[in-house]
């Protein structure tokens, strides 16, 4: 009986054009848009010092001071590539700084330097250049500049650097899987709406087998989404899933099961289609935002309060685990992720059983 029901669910599911579109197009669309749009941002290529310029204004006759400034200037130009331009009209230079034409104006005086920066729109490059200049100038003033420090060793690590393509292949796929719960929610809700639960009961099959068949259909849909995304990312985006691809699929599969069970519970609980739709969409969007499927996870993790709030999202654990697995590391993140997802699934199963009993009673 169960297999007959299962076969019917699969047939119904795969004959809907909307479901097919959702299953094949949505993950590919999300992966493509996000990986394309945030390409430069994720590679941290901010152009921090692009067209960076600092004006300097000589207000001293002291040659050693201006010689010292020239040394600092050369060091900074060599290291960070910003230019220094001498100005003769201080007021005009300050105005140009406030119009974002330069980072600041340095006035060279007998007893030190005055640095003018815009009080309202100083760019990141300007802040960095200013603090670096202050540090070097202070070092010169302390008079111990002749000591030569040891050389700095540079180690280039050969691991996959996170870029938008590999990040959003997984984050976008995980986000789409969350939305997949909507299809299961609709499938379950429609049974309630059209009164088919009564007929199923009359046919001898329990509500449990009906629910399981719908969850399994959702799981098949999720698996197809994973396979489609895998093929697309490998062939079009050239993303290598690495030697831990099997583990990545296991984590994603846990997410698929969670999403399907969640959708099923919403379908049992929802009073109308709109309620089911908005509940799944709101939950998925919130999980996506907090879990790093829209804004990269590392940005959220670096914020003081938000780094604690993000932990309420199951996608946070999924994305974190996948990033590690992608780099070939199996650690506690993978375990946490699987435990959190299966734990939440169990919680929703218990809730679903409770709701299922209510629905059966009504029927």
């Amino acid at each position: 009986m169960f297999f007959v029901q299962m076969w019917k669910e699969i047939k119904v599911f795969f004959t809907s054009k909307g479901n097919l579109l959702f299953m094949f197009v949505m993950p590919l669309l999300l992966i493509t848009i996000f990986s394309f749009a945030l390409r430069d941002y994720i590679s941290a290529d901010y152009g921090t010092f692009d067209n960076g310029c600092i004006y300097y204004y000589l207000n001293t006759q002291n040659e050693s001071r201006s010689g010292e400034f020239n040394e600092i200037r050369e060091k900074m130009t060599g290291a960070i590539g910003i230019s220094f331009e001498q100005v003769y009209d201080y007021e005009e230079a300050c105005r140009r700084v406030e119009s974002s034409k330069a980072y600041g104006v340095i006035t060279i005086k007998d007893n030190g330097y005055d640095y003018f920066r815009s009080s309202f729109n100083e760019p990141e490059g300007g802040k960095l250049a200013r603090t670096l200049f202050s540090q070097i100038a202070d070092n010169y003033m302390s008079g111990t500049t002749s000591r030569s420090g040891p050389a700095i060793n540079k180690v280039r690590v050969e691991v996959n650097k996170l870029d938008s393509k590999n990040y959003y292949t997984f984050a976008g796929l995980a986000f789409s899987i969350m939305f997949m719960g909507l299809l299961v929610a609709f499938m379950v809700y429609d049974e309630k709406k059209f009164g088919t639960i009564e007929r199923i009961k009359l046919g001898g099959a329990g509500i449990l087998s009906m629910v399981i068949s719908k969850v399994l259909t959702g799981v098949i849909c999720g698996l197809i989404m994973i396979v489609t995304s895998f093929a697309y990312s490998r062939t079009v985006l050239k993303v290598d899933w690495g030697n831990k691809a099997g583990y990545i699929v296991i984590v994603l599969l846990c997410l698929v099961i969670f999403s399907a069970v969640f959708g099923c519970v919403v379908g049992l609980w929802g009073k109308n289609r709109t309620m089911c739709q908005s509940s799944v969409l709101m939950f998925s969007m919130l999980c996506g935002y907090l879990g790093g499927s829209i804004t990269p996870l590392y940005l959220l993790e670096n914020l003081p309060v938000l780094r604690f709030i993000v932990k309420i999202s199951p996608l946070y654990y999924t994305n974190r685990a996948i990033i590690s697995l992608y780099n070939g590391i199996i650690d506690e993140k993978t375990t946490y992720s699987i435990l959190v997802l299966l734990g939440l699934t169990l919680a929703f199963i218990i809730l679903g059983i409770h709701l299922g009993k209510k629905v059966t009673k009504k029927a």
Binding site: F36, A44, Y46, I80, N111, S119, F120, P150, Y298, I323
Partner: protein, 334 residues
């Protein structure tokens, strides 16, 4: 209505300011196993660099942080046997924009790690601000533009229940009736914008402007556009529910290219070019111009473009509404 123009936008504003924190700050991880003065000085100097966020961690975690995107560069400081100067190593994956900046900073610290004297550089003051208003800006512009939904719904409803015809019978001209209605809604929307602006001011958000009134001015301009957009679409739609599609399928994709979810300046050129054709981007660009130039007047071109588009949409909306209505009437009579 009060909820829609006050509480909801403020909640979205605060939420999005946290959830879309696209900063351009660079992250550096430091592992310091040395207790020497020089090591302390290096970490201290790195922390003083504005625009660089230093996180201390253990050496074995550095690669994980770098590969996860949490940091761009790792600095490992260790004691050197028989020397008071520690050894310093940089760990990087690929290229980093700030590698040479950090190298210069560390080299300078290693050269002069004795006690620091008073700074010889005096810098003018700048007020400390909280989050940047730019985090949620594109999202708030989208929200502002969709606020006209209520006006659109009212126009369709009045047309459906013939209330408009009754009002016109009293001698009010079509244009003045629609204009009056739009102005009332515009005032309410502007009130919402003022509240949004005031919350930003009270919570000490960084507007990045000399005079933040320029920001409010551009919000008012987007309010005008919102009214016109919905007057325009209401002329062609028969059901209030269809207005939801305007937000989802017209304004949202436009907003996506104008930087609602991703920072516009980091988008690929192709997306930027598409985004530049949409009014959401004109509003955003106007605000950016006020920020970079410090002058409110610098946004005149963008403000004029938005207002011009608003006038065109409004006129088309009023004219087409009349012709559409006649068509529908003929169909009904048939």
């Amino acid at each position: 209505m009060i909820y829609l123009i006050t509480i909801q936008p403020i909640m979205i504003f605060l939420l999005m300011s946290f959830l879309l924190p696209y900063t351009t700050m660079h992250n550096v991880v430091v592992s310091n196993d040395s207790t020497s003065k020089a090591a302390i000085r290096i970490v201290d100097d790195l922390r003083k660099l504005e625009g660089i966020k230093v996180q201390e961690t253990s050496e074995d975690k550095i690669t994980e942080k770098l590969s996860g995107g949490n940091a761009e560069l790792g600095v490992v400081i260790k004691d050197t046997y028989g020397s008071e100067v520690p050894s310093v190593s940089f760990i990087v994956i690929g290229e980093s924009e700030i590698e040479s900046t950090i190298e210069l900073c560390v080299t300078e610290s290693l050269r002069t790690w004795t006690e620091k004297t008073e700074s010889v550089v005096s810098v003018n003051d700048a007020k400390k601000k909280w989050l940047s208003i730019s985090n949620s800006l594109a999202f708030m512009i989208f929200k502002t533009l969709t606020a006209g939904n209520l006006l659109g719904a009212l126009i369709i409803e009045e047309r459906k229940n013939r209330m408009k015809d009754r009002i016109l019978l009293s001698g009010t001209s079509k244009a003045s009736y629609r204009l009056g209605m739009s102005i009332v809604y515009l005032i309410f929307m502007m009130l919402g914008s003022v509240i949004y602006y005031l919350v930003g001011l009270i919570l000490n958000f960084d507007f990045g402007m000399r005079n933040s009134l320029g920001f409010l001015l551009m919000l008012f301009v987007s309010n005008v556009l919102s009214v016109s957009i919905y007057v325009f679409f209401a002329a062609f739609l028969k059901k209030e529910e269809s207005l939801g599609f305007v937000g989802t399928f017209v304004l949202m994709p436009m907003a996506l290219f104008a930087g609602v979810l991703f920072p516009y300046r980091f988008m690929p050129k192709a997306m930027q070019i598409i985004g530049a054709c949409f009014p959401q981007r004109w509003i955003g660009l106007g605000i950016e111009k006020i920020q970079t130039t410090g002058s409110v007047l610098s946004c005149w071109k963008e403000a004029l473009m938005v207002l011009g588009l608003s006038v065109i949409l409004f006129i088309i909306g009023i004219n087409c509404e009349n012709s559409q209505k006649n068509k529908w009437r003929i169909k009904t009579n048939e």
